[in-house]
């Protein structure tokens, strides 16, 4: 399950809804990761562009990767503006056993940061400024500049 929301996520609602969805699926472990906008560098908030087709295929590939472990993944992300102390990202894993859940949430969140086609902007002084220094080139980037 991949959800995109306009603006901030309603964290309690999402955490409760996912928990209820899997209430009788016999998973022993549920680990959500909630990402919240921090006050730093004088920003008023963050803003996000999401490219949904590639995000969906990336997410589906992760689903296929963890299915043999008995795990399922869910994710919610914001589009547009999210202000200080609001949340923009929730990733969650359900699995029968805790080790799989703990290892999966770590690997999923790290790959999300490195690969998911989402772009972050600082909201500052009424402007929307690409967070270039905090962004990561996707694996394989630079292809167009190769010679030969």
């Amino acid at each position: 399950m991949l959800e995109l929301h306009d603006g901030a996520l309603t964290v309690p609602e999402i955490l409760a809804r996912w928990y209820a969805l899997e209430a009788t699926s016999n998973y022993g472990a549920y680990i959500p990761f909630v990402g919240t906008v921090r006050e730093e560098d004088g920003i008023d908030g963050l803003s996000f562009d999401v490219y949904e087709p590639i995000l969906t295929s990336w997410f589906d590939a992760w689903g296929a990767k963890v299915a043999p472990l008995g795990a399922v993944l869910k994710m919610a992300h914001s589009r547009g503006d999210v202000y200080l102390h609001e949340s923009s990202y929730i990733a969650a894993v359900f699995s029968p056993k805790r080790r799989v859940a703990l290892e999966t949430i770590d690997a999923f969140v790290e790959d999300f940061k490195a690969s998911a086609p989402i772009w972050k902007y600082d909201l500052k002084d009424g402007k929307r400024i690409y967070a270039r220094e905090r962004s990561t080139a996707i694996a394989g980037a630079g292809l167009l500049g190769r010679n030969g």
């Binding site: 690409y130 962004s135 167009l144």
Partner: protein, 73 residues
């Protein structure tokens, strides 16, 4: 004709051009001074699948997407 779209922070409208491989697209984009800051750090998708070779063939109607450095979360 194929189209080239620029995602996220690259402020550039969709391009249409004739090209039969990704290499031909790269040659065009490398001439564009507004692309200088993006050529070395963008990943490339053809029809929404990331590709790893300039020899990737393109056919009529294909969509090439440039994905600059990401930061979700």
């Amino acid at each position: 004709m194929i189209t080239v779209e620029f995602l996220g922070p690259i402020q550039k409208p969709v391009l249409s051009m004739e090209a039969s491989t990704l290499r031909e697209v790269a040659e065009v984009l490398k001439q564009d001074p507004t692309m200088a800051e993006w050529i070395e750090n963008c990943a490339v998708a053809v029809n929404d699948t990331l590709v790893g070779s300039l020899d990737t063939p393109l056919k009529e109607g294909d969509k090439v997407s440039l994905l600059p450095p990401v930061c979700g979360g």
